[in-house]
């Protein structure tokens, strides 16, 4: 069949099961856009391309299906970069389609030209510059295949304008993919599985340590089954939240820099780490030489990406494969077991060092999140920006199901949460989606208010406004002698007259965009305000004027060990 490049893209996306594209038009994608509004594909028009990439990411993380974003050449494409890097760090399947100047002009410094395959190389799983329209169908097929298989990640297709217009004489969308150099391994090696089973059976103080891989592979049930059968406590990383039900008696919640004390003590004392889809990153391990000293290298590491294994710490039993398949094989072979002494020890820590905040009559940020959890009964999809509010969202909302906590863990991208919430809402129209934000982060992609309102997306944004870039301020307080260099966003009572620091009025701002704004200044107003927000079937900003210098605890300073953990309350 004869078809133009632009038509092949539309047809390919439909055949890949895509229902929605997040994007922004421009000169180099005019041909694509000429087909888009006549196609059955839904298009969400963002106000900045970074928003498109994060929205595609939020869509993908919340649904498990690849997210698609589209931008024009040059600045449109470079605006996707932060979103692609965010998705790459957290292994999120995205297919990004960017326009490019016509092939004869590539390399001529043409108007709106940027070398996108060059720029995106280190932040995508793979990328393509399409030079021939006859390759296009295969490339689209491969892009989706690469994005969602193995360790997922973003794939970029750079599509020159003349290729969009060119005609392919015998178009046929391929049925299958065969990339000889890309064959992800899903089944674990039987010998390693046997060793893993033996190690678990011999361990006296085993600990499950689950990362985002558990959620990606859909292995939550298997993790729970293994934990329950062999009485193994389970801690998760930030990206693993929701991978293990936090209301379960074996749950230790998050570990690491801002993890619970009991999770970190458990990691310190365990004699066998069972890492599932996690990568021992520095926010988890702290000082690597003092990490998990009692395990003595007794580590089972299950991951689909061989390069994640033995990268940061030595692993005794590497199992390359899909978390779900490997855990199933382990469960099949393993005998039930009790670890009463170990569990007793853990329960003692849990009792002795619970997560706490000062619950006085002041408006504390943790209280807001705790109430949100109670009101929503844990049934919301929570997204976050990056900073203190992100950690409080991890602490005081209890996650029991996978794909309910979406946060930029690896890259730590401020401005992620709001567009991600938009993407999650598009993918889950019947769910409640709440972005927990700070007054700093929300301003990084605030323009997406227009997107949410225009598309009628009832996303709720809770802004914990402490008038500071709080996480950086906390570090300045603790490690830089309270030198609050450029982290204060609004005048405080200590400011000299004429201080020009400024934060917009988020309530008026929401209203100016046609959304609903609610301000909370007292503790007593929190519950009614949250209830009102959740009742309102529109985009709502809830601005909570919380305590200014609240800190996130527990905390292990960067590069320190569990011995230097600061516990307690703010």
């Amino acid at each position: 069949m004869k078809m133009t490049g632009a038509d092949i893209v539309i047809d390919g996306l439909i055949r890949e099961g895509v229902e929605v594209i997040f994007g922004f038009p421009g000169g180099a994608v005019l041909d694509l856009f000429d087909r888009l509004n006549k196609s059955p594909l839904r298009f969400i028009l963002v106000r900045h391309e970074q928003g498109a990439a994060h929205a595609a990411d939020g869509y993908a993380r919340s649904t498990g299906r690849p997210g698609v974003c589209m931008a024009t050449s040059g600045p449109g494409a470079t605006n996707l970069v932060t979103g692609l890097a965010t998705a790459y760090m957290d292994s999120v399947p995205i297919v990004a389609i960017t326009g490019q100047v016509p092939t004869p002009m590539i390399g001529n410094d043409a108007f709106q030209e940027a070398d996108m395959v060059g720029i995106s190389r280190p932040i995508t799983k793979y990328n393509y510059l399409v030079k021939n329209v006859n390759d296009l169908a295969r490339i689209i097929k491969e892009a989706f295949y690469i994005a969602r298989t193995g360790r997922p990640g973003p794939v970029l297709i750079d599509l020159p304008k003349d290729v969009q217009r060119a005609v392919c004489d015998n178009y046929k969308y391929p049925d299958s993919v065969n990339i000889r150099s890309y064959k992800p391994v899903y089944k674990g090696h039987p010998l390693m599985i046997k060793k893993a089973v033996e190690a678990i059976e011999h361990a006296k103080q085993p600990l499950l340590y689950c990362g985002g891989g558990v959620i990606i592979s859909g292995a939550s049930k298997e993790v729970l089954k293994l934990a329950a059968r062999c009485n193994i406590p389970c801690t998760t990383t930030l990206l693993g939240l929701g991978g293990f039900p936090e209301d379960h008696s074996l749950a230790l919640k998050m570990l690491g820099m801002h993890g619970t004390q009991y999770a970190n003590y458990a990691m310190h004392e365990t004699d066998l780490i069972i890492a599932v889809g996690a990568r021992f990153d520095d926010r988890v391990t702290g000082k690597i030489d003092e990490f998990a000293p009692n395990a003595h290298g007794n580590v089972i590491h299950i991951d689909i990406d061989p390069s994640a294994i033995s990268k940061n710490i030595r692993v005794s039993i590497p199992v390359v494969g899909d978390c779900k398949e490997v855990l199933r094989e382990i469960i099949k072979r393993i005998k039930p077991k009790k670890n009463p002494k170990w569990i007793a020890k853990i329960n003692k820590w849990k009792k002795q060092y619970p997560l706490v905040y000062r619950n006085d009559n002041k408006l504390r940020p943790q209280y807001v999140i705790h109430q949100l959890y109670k009101i929503t009964k844990g049934n919301a999809i929570i997204t976050t920006e990056v900073g203190q509010h992100q950690m409080w969202a991890a602490h005081y909302y209890t996650y029991t199901k996978p794909r309910t906590f979406l946060s930029s863990g690896g890259l730590g991208t401020m401005g992620y949460g709001f567009p991600a919430a938009i993407g999650a809402q598009v993918g889950n129209p019947d769910r409640l989606v709440v972005d927990i934000a700070g007054d700093g982060s929300i301003q990084m992609n605030i323009q997406e208010l227009a997107t949410a309102v225009m598309h009628g997306l009832p996303v709720k944004v809770i802004i914990l406004n402490n008038r500071y870039l709080g996480m950086v301020r906390q570090w300045q307080q603790l490690f830089y002698n309270k030198n609050y260099s450029y982290t204060c966003l609004a005048p405080t009572k200590d400011c000299p007259p004429g201080c020009t620091r400024f934060i917009p009025d988020f309530v008026k701002l929401a209203e100016a965009y046609g959304a609903v704004g609610i301000r909370v200044t007292k503790k007593a107003e929190v519950i009614p305000a949250l209830r009102k927000a959740l009742r309102t079937p529109r985009t709502v900003f809830v601005e909570c004027m919380v305590e200014e210098e609240e800190n996130v605890f527990p905390m292990i300073p960067a590069g320190a060990s569990v011995r230097q953990m600061m516990g307690g309350m703010a």
Partner: protein, 157 residues
């Protein structure tokens, strides 16, 4: 320790920059890299010489394997292999020194490929120790220019 890593990759534009980019972004040091088509024109072979401890080399292997365009990675350092490098060297010479230089070239079975009043250009191919010894001997005459291909290697049998 120096490792010889032999990599089969898709013969496509952009693959070399993917590999070079991997080394720079992960902080690995390439000592040399040689690339060329194999008997299958859709596949290229890269011979990469890289220095690092076991942990670094393990990551180099895994990260190379992770690249979509990489078909096969072999660390052949511990295998029996043959390696060669081709070197072109322009040496300062005068009528007094020319004879001595020519002698050295003959001993090493190198080849003279250009000669004029002031310089003599030699071509030498061989394993590292031979090239090293040759260069050590001609160095005192003054090396004006040195061009090396980087090592290529093949396993025995």
């Amino acid at each position: 320790m120096q490792h010889v890593i032999s990599v089969l990759v898709e013969n496509r534009s952009g693959v070399l920059s993917h590999i070079a980019g991997l080394f720079s972004s992960r902080g690995f040091n390439i000592d040399s890299l040689a690339v060329g088509e194999t008997q299958d024109p859709t596949i290229s072979r890269m011979t990469i010489i890289v220095t690092g401890d076991d942990k670094i080399i393990e990551q180099v292997n895994k990260q190379l394997n992770k690249l979509i365009d990489v078909i096969k990675v072999q660390d052949i350092t511990e295998d029996e292999y043959l390696d060669r490098e081709l070197v072109l060297v322009k040496i300062n010479c005068t009528s007094q020194t020319r004879g001595e230089i020519v002698q050295i070239i003959e001993i090493f079975k190198a080849k003279i490929i250009d000669v004029n009043q002031k310089t003599l250009t030699a071509e030498i191919a061989g394993p590292q120790d031979k090239i090293g010894a040759f260069l050590d001997l001609v160095k005192p005459f003054g090396i004006k220019e040195l061009v090396r291909t980087g090592r290529i290697a093949i396993t025995r049998g």
